[in-house]
Structures are given as structure tokens and as C-alpha cells.
Amino acid sequence: MNLTFTLRIRRPQGWADFTVTVPDDAYVLDALEAAERHDPTLLFRHACHHASCGSCGLRVNGRERLGCVTRVAEVASRGRVLKLEPLRNLPRLGDLLVDHQPLFSRIDAVDLPPIRAAASEAVAGPQPTRFENCIECGLCVSACPVAGSDSSYWGPAALAAAARVAAEPRGRDVASVLKLVDDEHGLWRCHGVFECTEVCPADVDPAGLIMGLRQRLLEGERQ
């Protein structure tokens, strides 16, 4: 069975409508590719198509989603308009394309060890939160109202990365990382909205990690 609907895309010049027909088990990315066949100037990013590269983040009917794993049938139906907009709070490069560099720079600044070299290096004790889940897609930054108004806010992804370094340092200097984010525009700018945790496709729970780090700083170092 096929699904025909209107894809409404926010382009720099305004909204553009595309009538698109896709199989009813198609994903939003498939619909975008169908629209691109009508208009090859349409700009959007995609790579792995299975939620591990973090390239295809966008807003689907106002809500942050990954285009590759969001089924069209879930968000549109015959006669309904499917609205697509770029992620918020990151510089816009065109159509649905945003620049992730500010996000990447902040995560780099926190110096998160990128690779788990061996299972034997794993922290003993309770199962650590697998921040390695984070695919740096930027959905959390887009959903965060503080990131929207304060461009110097570190943002959920970078703060979650800092929490991860604190939890599992692997030779990183935890004190200096904490000093970095223990800041007016870091940990203390978060207002506990939890939208980041809501939209994260990789179960990072940035808000929870931020609150945990606050607890650690307020109550002093713990084992």
C-alpha cells in the first residue's frame, strides 16, 4: 500500500509543498528523497539511515526526530500535511541543513574519551550509563529552550558528555572538566525542562546526567 500526502518543507524563502507518494512503511527520509527527485536543490543531510550517525535530525510537525527512523505513517496520513523544519539553536546552512560544529566543539572541549579500548577497562561497580550511545545528532540542543535564547549555554549534549567523563574518567582530568562546566552558562543554566531527555533517540538522558552532576557538586565528591 502506498501513502500519498503533502510534505511541507520550511525553506529559507518560505514553506514549499511537495505531493509525495511512498510505501506505507516508509520513513520520513524516504519521503524527503522522493521530494528531492522533484526538486534536486532541496538541502538535507543523511548517511547511515539507521540512527547511528546522527546526521538526519530535523523537526517533524514541530517535534525533534531522526528522519531515518520516523515512520511516515506515524506522523502523516492521507490528506494530512507533514511539516518538516530544520533543528533549532544551531546555525542554519539552508533548507533542512544545520551546522553541527558548535555542538561538536563543545563536546570536544569536554575531552570525552571517544573509544572504549577494552572491556577490561570498564569501571567496576554498577553498570555505567552508556554515553557512548550519544550520536551527537543535536536533537537535544534543538529542544532545549535555554539553548534557544542563550547561545553561550553549553547545552545538554556537552554537559552530558562532562557527566560521562566524571563518571568514567579513563585518565581524563575530571577536576578540570568539572571546572569548565561548573559555570553560569554551563550546569547552572539548565532549568530542568527535560525536553532533551524526551527527544534523545539514544537514551542518553542529558537532563538526568546534568542533575546528577549538580548533586555531585552540591554535596561534595562521592565514591
Binding site: S149, E184, R189, G220
Partner: protein
């Protein structure tokens, strides 16, 4: 206290903690204030004579003064939080802190002055 050594002035942690503690105090102080103003005097709200008599009691004077100080602190910290959310740089923040401290002092000063005028 171990925690006190950890608190880094100016990191934002101090501001958040003060906001949280003043908030908790306010839950109690606002409750008391509301009950006192609406339910203790005959007819609820107090006439001038009632107000003067009420404020002349040392415990009440103390509580209402504490209330004024705590609520002004909490309110102005809240204003600062909202302004910081709009992306103030460090210099603007520095100016803001002083401005709000002045407003806070003026507010408490005004309240104390008014109270003293009434109980005399």
C-alpha cells in the same frame, strides 16, 4: 562544612543554591504571611489599627522583615536568571549584579522604613 569549601563563588552554584534555599524558606514564610493577613484578624484583612498592633509584636516584626528580605532576594535572583537566559555576557552580568543588589537594598530599606513609620 565540607560543602562550603566546595562552593565556588561566581560559578552559578551559589546563585542556584541561594535560590533553592530562599524558595524553601518562602514556602513557609508565604504560607504564614497569607494566613496571618487573611484569617487572623476579624474580617480578614487588617484595618490600620490592626496593622500597627500586628507589626508592633517583635516576633511578627522579625518574621515579616525576614519575609521581605527572603522574597526580595528570591525575586531578584529570579529576574537575573531570566536575563542570563537571554545571553548576558560577563560584563553585563557584573553590572546586573550590582544593579539588582541596589534594587534589593532599596526594596528592603523601603519596607523597613514603612514598617517603622506605621508602628510609631
Amino acid at each position: 562544612m565540607e560543602q562550603m569549601e566546595q562552593i565556588k563563588m561566581g560559578s552559578g552554584r551559589w546563585g542556584w543554591l541561594l535560590q533553592a534555599v530562599s524558595g524553601i524558606l518562602l514556602v513557609v514564610l508565604v504560607g504564614l504571611h497569607w494566613v496571618a493577613q487573611h484569617f487572623l484578624a476579624a474580617g480578614g484583612l487588617r484595618t490600620y489599627a490592626d496593622v500597627a498592633a500586628y507589626l508592633r509584636q517583635p516576633v511578627i516584626f522579625g518574621l515579616e522583615t525576614a519575609f521581605l528580605i527572603v522574597v526580595t532576594t528570591h525575586a531578584l535572583l529570579g529576574v537575573r536568571a531570566i536575563l542570563l537566559d537571554l545571553g548576558l555576557g560577563p560584563r553585563a552580568d557584573h553590572v546586573l549584579r550590582w544593579a539588582l543588589a541596589l534594587v534589593g537594598a532599596a526594596t528592603v530599606g523601603y519596607g523597613l522604613d514603612l514598617t517603622l513609620a506605621v508602628i510609631r
